[in-house]
Symmetry: C2
Subunit: 333 residues, 2 copies
């Protein structure tokens, strides 16, 4: 568990896109985001107060979160000077970079000298159990996609927020690096050893109040040959009561797989639902989340109306429209 | 790759069952099994010449393979004395034990001093790629089961042997510890990090002659909630042209999951085939392998006749009957 609140380190981000982790934290856990730290040349701005490390300390910050991708796969000397100073100021560090903080001797030494923690969220730190498939109390929802990167994390975060707005107990359960940095905890599922994947998901979504919803962040796609095993572990380890189908309508082929076309929403439903019912016979598909970022407003609305009529399920773009209707669908179960 | 031939270390096996790895090697790769090494109290016997380490050296042995499970999860002092002497004699060691050879300082020191290798086949030693889904040349067959431990490895080994007998080019591709020790190479798939599972299977079954069959060892089951993700990676990474359905008819619930009943062969076919066709649209289900070890001869034959009529597919017990009919079904494709 990463201690909050955070100072968001934007470094020398070349553009806003490079700071998407920081953006996610600011959008979804604004109470965690006390300020931002920008270096010379930084082109990203979260609209948060710019703070020195000392100012952040006074503001109660506990952890400096690297909210930006690094360039060229190295943690630069300029970054390292700031990170060492942050440890000396009394902050923990949290990072989802491929380069691990723990592989940098200066950071390890500074963390040790100052009694601080280095959180590399790409690497599991828990010894997960093998899944036992025992039915857990509480309710669970999982978004499954026609492809990778179609908005499953965003959908889950929006659904969690909408449920809370509607007065329903809900937890977003992160299964990827960005989700973990946003919420401060979770399972980096793609880095878990095969035999323990489903058990890690069970561990992530334990018994809970019967009227509580875990909104589990999806990963990959049952139709994406590179990552389908990870998705399968979520479908079985998650024991979802409800599935949301996620889709990006302008995608011409599966992400990173030029030879593979996307399945239809019907094929996704007919594949995912029977598999989910192995672990939870009561599971239902309750709604559809469309990522219409690449479509104009009219086109997007027309497309979603067509899908809603065809599939007979509430169909929304959680970004354009919010996830209120999906939350209502969960409550209606 | 583990160097052959082997001396099979049976240690102080309390019974024949404890030596099932040695049995697998003796049954499936008899040319690798030059002799056996038994300690006082050993109750297992492979029917191979008992050899001292020096005799095995003279017979050309390259690797001592631990063919027996250890007791109480520790490598005993008595074992270690033999293993150190084996390294000093000039043998490599290979083991599928949960306790790793590399975690034993005496073995590490003796291996280093004598320039020998310690093969812990539970642990991947290759940096596997992420699967790219590109169609590979050659043909592939995968056994998928209604449950774990229903005879998929045995079926694959028998099918590989039957194809070779019929003059067809074939390779057994091991994906588990026992299979790796039997054949000397493979991928310990259940120990691979999630993101690389399907890529590890692609790596294991590379481009080959168009008339060559890779017989891929199956793992888990799409219906076993603890391990279904591993199976999914085999179905997609393996790009099978042919699926064999594996089943054990007397099983009353999924292995280790008392609350879960087994799927029907029809459900297995209807789930596995569409998923396999995502990676290989030409895939077909070509036969059924039944593990009838718990049935009498008449009962087994009647059961298989019923399944064959119902499913319209050649149905055999590869142990009782050999896998010749399954091999013919592959050739007929």
């Amino acid at each position: 568990m990463i201690e909050t609140p955070y100072l968001l380190f934007l470094g020398d981000a070349p553009d806003a896109l490079a700071a998407k982790v920081a953006r996610g934290i600011r959008d979804w856990r604004p109470d965690y985001a006390v300020g931002q730290f920008r270096m010379e040349g930084c082109k990203a701005d979260m609209g948060l107060p710019d703070m020195t490390l000392a100012e952040a300390k006074d503001a109660g910050v506990k952890t400096l979160v690297i909210g930006v991708a690094n360039r060229g796969g190295v943690i630069s000397a300029a970054w390292k000077r700031v990170l060492v100073e942050a440890l000396e100021t009394g902050f923990d560090l949290a990072s989802g970079l491929h380069n691990l903080l723990r592989d940098e001797p200066e950071l390890v030494a500074a963390a040790k000298a100052n009694g601080r923690a280095l959180h590399d969220v790409r690497i599991p730190t828990v010894k997960y159990p093998i899944a036992d498939g025992v039915k857990r109390s509480g309710k669970r929802c999982l978004a499954v996609g026609t492809d990778c990167s179609v908005g499953k994390m965003y959908t889950a975060l929006a659904l969690d927020a909408a449920l809370k707005e509607q007065g329903v107990k809900s937890s977003f359960r992160a299964t990827g690096q960005t989700g973990i940095l946003i919420t401060g905890e979770g399972v980096p599922l793609d880095a878990v050893v095969a035999d323990f994947m489903a058990g890690a998901v069970e561990w992530l979504t334990p018994n809970n109040d019967t009227d509580h919803w875990d909104i589990i962040e999806g990963q990959g796609s049952l139709f994406h040959v590179s990552y389908s095993g990870v998705t399968m572990a979520l479908v079985h380890g998650g024991q979802p009561d409800a599935l949301i189908l996620s889709h990006e309508p302008t995608r011409t082929h599966m992400r990173g797989l030029p030879g593979y076309s996307l399945p239809t929403l019907e094929a996704l439903r007919d594949t995912a639902l029977p598999m989910a019912r192995v672990a939870n016979p009561a599971c239902e598909v309750v709604g559809i989340a469309i990522n219409t970022a690449a479509m104009g407003e009219d086109e997007a609305l027309a497309y979603m109306a067509e899908v809603e009529a065809r599939m007979g399920l509430p169909t929304v773009d959680p970004y354009r429209q919010g996830a209120g209707r999906l939350a209502e669908a969960l409550q209606a179960m």
